[in-house]
């Protein structure tokens, strides 16, 4: 078991060459590679969208309302006569534009809280953790929906609220790592050398405590993509005809039972693919960062 851990750590620089490195990763976690490939594909859609979209995503073709998929409209048109294919591509931008800042905000808030509470312990730690426990009583979609509705539904609010609501996840993992690291000699010597607390937290502890949080980030990005789409589906936050996947599914919902399936199916399929990619990346990351987990399954 320790052999597996050892090789995981050394394999990266020792095997030499970027290609060998990629192959090494692929062999140890195919899930990671497939996930990364899916995400890259969507990133390419987002970056190269001006060249990939056959039509303007918000241009209505009034004579082509609810047009079935054909050579001109690959994914058909919606009830406004807008091209679903172009809108699905454009939706990738929203997915990344929401997920990335949500993860950054969540970490920016959660990591310092985890560092501090884990290092200090005591009543503050107790209060913060009990508060986080209490928040867990609520399903995340209900909490997100309530806070976004209260704060006023806008794209910025959706991002802020999701980021803040997700910060306990990072705080928890970082805290757990700090609890284990705190007793190490290097921390003790850093204290003895007279380092201020912030320096111990951010310079000495953080680099070692971040691994778990990093492994979580992909799964949390998947959560952000899913929840933000759910909010849009419920009509809170992003509104149709914005080319966002959740809003598009909302638009397509009523046509599912009348046979115009393409309006809602395609944005949902794109949503599943990206979320699946992120989840796979997260799953693979955990395997790679925690070789014991993988070893235990052998």
């Amino acid at each position: 078991m320790s052999g597996a851990a050892e090789s995981a750590r050394i394999a990266l620089p020792a095997s030499g060459g970027a290609l060998a490195h990629v192959i090494g990763v692929a062999r140890r976690s195919p899930t990671f590679v497939i996930g990364a490939a899916i995400i890259l594909a969507f990133a390419a859609l987002a970056v190269f969208h001006p060249w990939l979209m056959p039509h303007d995503p918000v241009r209505a073709f009034p004579t082509q309302v609810l047009h079935a998929p054909d050579a001109q409209f690959w994914f058909g048109t919606d009830s406004n006569g807008m091209d679903v294919f172009s809108r699905v591509i454009y939706g990738a931008i929203y997915a990344f534009a929401i997920a990335a800042p949500v993860v950054v905000i969540g970490m920016a808030i959660g990591v310092p809280i985890g560092l501090f509470t884990g290092y200090r312990g005591g009543w503050l730690d107790e209060i913060v953790m009990r508060f986080f426990d209490a928040l867990r009583v609520f399903p995340s979609i209900i909490l997100a929906l309530a806070v976004v509705a209260a704060a006023g539904p806008s794209l910025l609010n959706v991002i802020l609220v999701l980021g803040i609501l997700d910060s306990p996840v990072y705080a928890r993992v970082v805290r757990a790592e700090v609890l284990a690291l705190r007793a190490n000699a290097y921390v003790e010597s850093a204290v003895a050398a007279g380092n201020p607390t912030w320096r111990i937290l951010f310079v000495h502890l953080m680099p070692n405590a971040l691994q778990g949080a990093m492994a979580q980030s992909a799964v949390r990005a998947a959560w952000a993509v899913r929840i933000s789409a759910t909010l849009a589906f419920l009509g809170v936050g992003i509104q149709p005809p914005t080319p966002e996947w959740g809003a598009m599914i909302r638009q397509g919902a009523e046509y599912m039972v009348t046979g115009q399936w393409w309006v809602g199916i395609f944005p949902g399929a794109a949503l599943i693919a990206l979320v699946l990619g992120l989840n796979m990346l997260g799953d693979g990351l955990q395997d790679l960062l925690d070789p014991r987990r993988k070893a235990a399954t052998r």
Binding site: A134, V137, F138, P139, S140, I141, I142, L145, A146, V147, A149, A150, A151, G152, A222, R226, A229, T230, F233, L234, G235, V236, G246, I249, G252, A253, M256, V257, T258, G259, W261, G264, I265, G268, L271, I272, V275, L276, N279, M280, D283, A296, T297, R298
Partner: protein, 338 residues
């Protein structure tokens, strides 16, 4: 005796939690930037009319005075009246609890019935075909948006195949609901011996239950597999294997030691599924508590939101107590430590 003491201690801890939940929700809906009065009054209301409504709802008083009044009402078992329908929130909620429970328990029950054996079997042959397959399926289950799954089900089984009824409520609109006993049309129909209602209620249940089952099975498979693997890797199981115990007996050991964590997990899963179930209700016009809560939040109906959230918190508490009791009965050792 130990159980009684445990329940009492739980009860003492629950009161501050519920108080905190009530306070948190109360403040959250009020300090947000949204003004519900303008929405209730409508776009043509004059400033005077808006002020009248505001004072009628008691929203012109200081925040803490409002909270004190509300708390007093709650303590007397009155959750107030909805601002939008003007119906008492408590009876609206109580009426809807069994409706949601029916959907959830069927869904999670089937999800667990399928998920736990799949997870256990996958863990017994790790990294083999079945394991990889179940891992892939559970990842997919994690990634499907609940509401989209519901819509696809309706498209396939109602529109294309015409096997299922349209997603409009819990019983066909042509039928009169049975006299209320439990609140579940299926059970009430059986009690009233109204077979048409039973048939229709069962048919209406199939698709939403299937959705909840699929959504709940994914994490159950993943977690059961992880738990069983952890138990298999534990020292005592490795010792048993090294000592040459037959495979069957070792597996039984793994099974028995996985039982408690799996039950605990399915319990927490139940509270986590409230959100997904709400979305399923929304898609199938189920009319349960979940849909009630979503609509209240979207409409900014403060009083209804507060009541709904309070019930959610109570539901979580009850589930956790039931799970702990189950664990106590299965594993008296844990009870002694607690």
């Amino acid at each position: 005796m130990a159980i009684l003491r445990f329940l009492l201690r739980r009860l003492v801890l629950v009161v501050p939690l519920l108080l905190a939940v009530v306070f948190f929700t109360f403040m959250l809906v009020r300090i947000g930037g949204q003004d519900p009065v303008a929405r209730i009054a409508g776009p043509t209301a004059t400033q005077g009319e808006i002020e009248t409504i505001r004072s009628e709802l008691g929203l012109d008083k200081p925040l803490f005075a409002q909270f004190a009044i509300y708390l007093g009402l709650v303590a007397r078992g009155d959750l107030g009246r909805s601002w939008i329908s003007n119906r008492p929130v408590l009876s609206d909620i109580v009426e809807r609890v069994p409706v949601t429970l029916e959907l959830m328990l069927w869904g999670v029950g089937i999800g667990a019935l399928v998920g736990i054996p799949v997870g256990l079997f996958a863990a017994s042959r790790p990294n083999r075909m079945f394991d990889q397959l179940s891992r892939g399926i559970s990842l997919l289950g994690f990634s499907i948006p609940t509401y989209w799954l519901g819509l696809v089900m309706l498209f396939v089984f109602f529109y294309l195949l015409d096997w299922a009824p349209p997603g409009m409520g819990r019983v066909s609109l042509m039928l009169t609901p049975p006299p209320r006993v439990t609140g579940s049309y299926l059970i009430d129909g059986l009690i009233a011996a109204d077979w048409e209602v039973v048939h229709s209620a069962a048919a209406q249940l199939v698709l939403p239950v299937l959705c909840v089952a699929i959504i709940s099975a994914a994490p159950i498979i993943k977690q059961t597999r992880a738990i069983a693997l952890e138990v298999s890797a534990s020292d005592y199981v490795r010792y048993a294997r090294a000592a040459g115990l037959p495979r069957r007996q070792v597996q039984q050991m793994v099974l028995r030691n996985s039982r408690t964590p799996v039950i605990t997990y399915v319990g927490t899963e139940l509270t986590g599924l409230v959100g997904s179930t709400s979305l399923i209700e929304y898609v199938f016009a189920w009319g349960g508590l979940g849909q009630y809560g979503l609509n209240a939040i979207i409409a900014g109906d403060f009083v209804a939101i507060q009541g709904y959230v309070l019930f959610l918190a109570m539901f979580s508490v009850i589930v956790f107590v039931v799970v702990d009791l189950a664990v106590m009965i299965l594993e008296p050792r844990a009870a002694l430590q607690g």
